[in-house]
């Protein structure tokens, strides 16, 4: 008995080894596909094995990248563990952990290798590359976002806004909603008249995401309510060019007071402060939430698609540019900006740096860009006689189906890419940016809503973007602050205090007492002046750079 077992085991092991050998030899005849691994310090969805577009890209480039994503950790923790163990993937998008990786000497200086790869070297202009350089003069990350080819044609507002379901606006007869008071009045009236969602549960009139760094949904509206563009961490007065802390302005107080007032009326999701990002996305995906503040990229590509896929055609959202009071001009929509606070990096753990560079370079050819963002020709899109890309209704339906996406589409979204127009100058970089596609795909409910406000696209719901100021956006500086400087420490402490006190302020029985308490702790624990001084220095530096000094 025992002998039989041993023999069986031996046979099994032998078979496995032979199979392994054969598999290894398999690639020798043809072009062998290299595999790189990549970690992205953001939550995301893993692709399934044998993903069609990924295979097609591998045929052209000879490379396949296995992407893994952040799971229930903060980016800093994940990157911290990685630098402590020195166990790095080949590619990394380190997000908030970028500075940690640079400090740990874990990244390859891109500019030392790029001479053979013009696609990479010419991806940004000389000045733009200079913005990416670290103190030692090297470039450790290639920005992925905000690089626009020709012109920005996006009909979608990808940034922050007050999002509201079209059914709410329709019910009220598409009124003009400009101020925060009007916004909550509308939500309140609608809820009173329509307390139930189509699945029989109660609607959630308003929710706020407070999970980790995404708590900007709670804390940064005062910035927008005062009519400032999204500098992220501070308001920069365009006249005086001085930084202002938006956390303690009268508008901030008014905003939180308003939230407190509507919370007491039961209009805010009672679990807003403890929900995780996943729970939040799940909640919005049900279509129960009437309104919220968020950056579109934070929820749109998942939840909006889920709502559409579920057939809740009157429950998708349109953006509103809400301000504190009439007379303030909103600036929610910005021209695309280059995010130089991080990007795609190659780590010291990569054994084949030329191979990795070549892959990045290959990804920037139009053939591969089309595969990444449009999919496989005649499967995910078709081309008409004029060379314009279009999709059939079935193709459109597949493209929002999560399972289909995991099996068939491979955008390699955290690799460098061109937004705006394709390099052929005909098509947009992505279906949802293609005007013909956008209008074909638009739900009738949304079309009606947009038309009622004299708009054709989501972007037209908001004021057109103004030219970006030379210091814009300041978040690309504050994102990389570390606790090593007094200002960075203050920035981290501010975030801690706000995390703790702002939900309290919203839920307080006595708003004024809680607000006073918040301000007291805020000024006691955070060295605001140190933070503002560092921000001011950066504003001045950027202005100086822009003015060529």
């Amino acid at each position: 008995m025992k002998k039989t077992f041993t023999r069986l085991m031996a046979l099994l092991i032998a078979t496995t080894m032979i199979c392994g050998l054969m598999a290894a030899c398999d690639g020798i005849g043809q072009k062998k596909v290299k595999t790189f691994d990549m970690f992205i310090a953001m939550p995301g969805t893993e692709l399934n094995d044998g993903n069609k577009a990924q295979e097609e890209i591998a045929k052209i480039t000879g490379v396949k990248v296995k992407e893994t994503w952040l799971v229930s950790q903060s980016a800093e923790e994940a990157i911290g563990v990685m630098t402590a163990s020195k166990d790095f993937p080949d590619f990394i998008e380190a997000s908030d952990g970028y500075q940690i990786m640079v400090d740990a000497g874990a990244l390859i200086a891109i500019d030392e290798y790029w001479d053979k790869y013009p696609n990479i070297k010419n991806y940004l202009s000389e000045e733009e590359w200079n913005m990416c350089r670290k103190a030692d003069g090297h470039i450790y990350a290639i920005p992925q976002f905000g690089i626009v080819n020709e012109r920005d044609v996006s009909p979608i507002h990808g940034d922050e806004a007050w999002w509201i379901q079209t059914r709410v606006l329709k019910w009220a007869g598409y009124p003009k909603v400009e101020t925060i008071d009007e916004f909550f009045k509308l939500i309140e009236d609608y809820t009173a008249a329509n307390p139930k969602h189509s699945d029989g549960t109660n609607v959630i009139p308003y929710t706020i995401l407070c999970d980790d760094w995404r708590y900007f949904c709670l804390e940064n509206p005062p910035l927008f309510l005062s009519g400032s563009p999204n500098d992220g961490s501070v308001i920069v007065d365009p006249e005086t060019r001085k930084v202002v802390d938006y956390n303690t302005t009268p508008i901030a107080k008014m905003y939180f007071n308003k939230l407190n007032e509507v919370f007491k009326k039961g209009l805010i999701d009672p679990e807003f402060f403890s929900q995780s990002y996943d729970e939040y996305i799940a909640k919005i995906s049900t279509g129960r939430v009437l309104g919220f503040v968020d950056q579109f990229w934070n929820w749109g590509y998942t939840a909006q698609d889920a709502i559409k896929a579920a057939g809740l055609t009157d429950c998708t959202y349109v953006p509103l540019g809400i301000v504190a009071e009439t007379g303030i001009e909103e600036q929610y929509h910005n021209a695309p900006v280059l995010d130089v606070s991080g990007g795609l990096s190659i780590t010291t753990g990569c054994k084949d740096i030329p191979g990795a560079m070549k892959f990045i370079s290959d990804l920037l050819t139009q053939e591969v860009l089309t595969l990444r963002f449009w999919g496989v020709k005649d499967v995910d899109y078709k081309v008409d006689e004029n060379g314009m890309f279009y999709r059939t209704p079935e193709m459109r339906a597949s493209a929002i189906d999560a399972n289909y996406k995991a099996d068939n589409l491979c955008p390699y979204a955290y690799f460098p890419q061109y937004q705006g127009m394709n390099l052929d100058g005909k098509n947009a970089w992505r279906p949802d940016n293609q005007p013909s596609e956008f209008f074909e795909d638009l739900l009738p409910e949304v079309k009606e809503c947009l038309a009622a406000y004299g708009a054709e696209t989501y972007v037209e719901m908001l004021n057109p973007s103004k030219p970006n100021q030379p210091w814009f956006p300041m978040w690309s500086f504050s994102n990389d602050l570390t606790t090593a400087t007094p200002g960075g420490l203050a920035w981290a402490t501010m975030s801690e205090v706000k995390h703790e006190y702002l939900p309290r302020v919203v839920m307080a029985d006595d708003f004024d007492a809680e607000w006073t308490e918040y301000l007291k702790i805020y000024y006691e624990r955070c060295d605001i002046d140190a933070f503002l001084a560092e921000m001011q220095a950066e504003v001045d530096r950027r202005i100086a750079v822009a003015e060529g000094k």
Binding site: A84, P270, S274, H499
Partner: protein
């Protein structure tokens, strides 16, 4: 004849004596045993005659035996080592395991005395003496997490002891074998669930919208509207404490149940003769019977007070309760790993270990002074 053989013989004698004793009339045994157990409660165990040895509970006997074993010291000679070579061989992997995973990592402690940078390595980093510790103790947030850790540790310690012992006592009173076993098995199953699942359950149970606890409390009219449990900082420690109770009570009670089965059933009969009811027996027989177990476990757990955990607080927390939910471990993760300040994280870890060692010594000394069972 070697000492061991002698020991074996005397063990056999004991067993014979025990059998003989059993043959004697029950009543006389009971009388004597009662007398013995009463006297032994006063004087603990002194030198006993062979006859009384036969009448001692098994537990005391084992103790006596171990005292005897300790008496003739085994010399560490080459001969003994040769004779016990199998035993020594068996222990080698465990000793190696200990060295590899408990002692070698301690080398990393030098980080706490350096301004450690990963790229410079352990040897290349700049030495700063006790600066890191000074920074640590001046950090208000560290004092806060130390308080949280200690508070949750003590709450967990007390709750887990009370519930595990209480549960073991009650379960022991169940007469029917089948339900007793069933309850025991079911009660320790949660121990095998990962905290992330337990936290999911806890969050669902306490949820405002559909949580069963809120539904019950509102249903029977204790609250007018659902209570938002996670928005109350003063409830957080108790939520953690009771989550722990739910998860670990069954598991912790196993050891007490085992100790209870080791109590001589004759003691109960004797107590019954003296007119003790169920609770009387619990109080006068069962509890004193498992007292040594309780003390040993208490000592071990006091040393673990600061290891109050990481997952449950990490997963249950939110912005509002952060000031009461953060433990030393989370703090170490945030500063050490998250902010890349390895030195500060290590210093906090060292501090935690030292406090744990002090605690366990204090507890042991207290037990020694009180003349109770102790670890060393």
């Amino acid at each position: 004849m070697t000492d061991n053989h002698k020991q074996n013989l005397s063990d056999q004698d004991e067993r014979l004596a025990e059998e003989n004793a059993a043959k004697k009339t029950l009543a006389s045994i009971k009388r004597r045993e009662l007398a013995y157990s009463k006297s032994s409660q006063k004087t603990s165990s002194g030198p006993n005659s062979d006859k009384s040895t036969a009448l001692m509970s098994r537990k005391d006997k084992r103790k006596l035996r171990s005292e005897r074993n300790a008496e003739p010291k085994v010399e560490l000679s080459r001969r003994t080592m040769l004779r016990q070579r199998e035993l020594i061989l068996i222990t080698i992997p465990f000793v190696l395991y200990g060295i590899l995973f408990y002692y070698i990592p301690l080398g990393g402690w030098v980080m706490a005395f350096q301004k450690y940078k990963p790229q410079d390595g352990l040897l290349g980093s700049q030495w700063v003496g006790l600066d890191v510790f000074k920074h640590l103790f001046s950090e208000a947030s560290f004092r806060l997490v130390f308080r949280n850790t200690l508070a949750m540790g003590i709450i967990n310690l007390i709750l887990s002891f009370v519930f595990a012992i209480g549960f073991a006592l009650l379960l022991n009173e169940v007469r029917l074998r089948a339900p007793k076993r069933f309850v025991q098995t079911v009660s320790y199953l949660p121990h095998f669930l990962s905290w992330i699942i337990v936290v999911g359950i806890v969050r669902d149970m306490l949820s405002v919208e559909h949580g069963i606890i809120n539904q019950i409390l509102v249903g029977i009219g204790i609250f007018d509207k659902p209570l938002n449990f996670f928005s109350k900082p003063n409830l957080f420690w108790w939520i953690v404490g009771f989550s722990n109770v739910w998860k670990e009570t069954g598991w912790n009670s196993i050891i007490y149940l085992a100790a209870i089965t080791a109590i001589n059933p004759e003691m109960y009969e004797a107590a019954a003769l003296d007119g003790a009811g169920r609770f009387g027996k619990m109080w006068h027989v069962t509890l004193p019977g498992i007292k040594p177990t309780i003390f040993i476990l208490l000592l071990i757990n006091v040393g673990n007070v600061l290891n109050v955990g990481f997952e449950v607080q990490y997963l249950l927390t939110n912005g509002i309760v952060k000031s009461v939910s953060e433990t030393i471990d989370i703090w170490v993760l945030y500063w050490g790993i998250g902010q890349g300040d390895f030195s500060l994280g290590t210093a906090a870890g060292i501090f935690k270990s030292i406090v744990s060692i002090i605690l366990i010594y204090l507890a042991n000394a207290t037990a020694k002074a009180a003349g109770e069972e102790r670890l060393f």
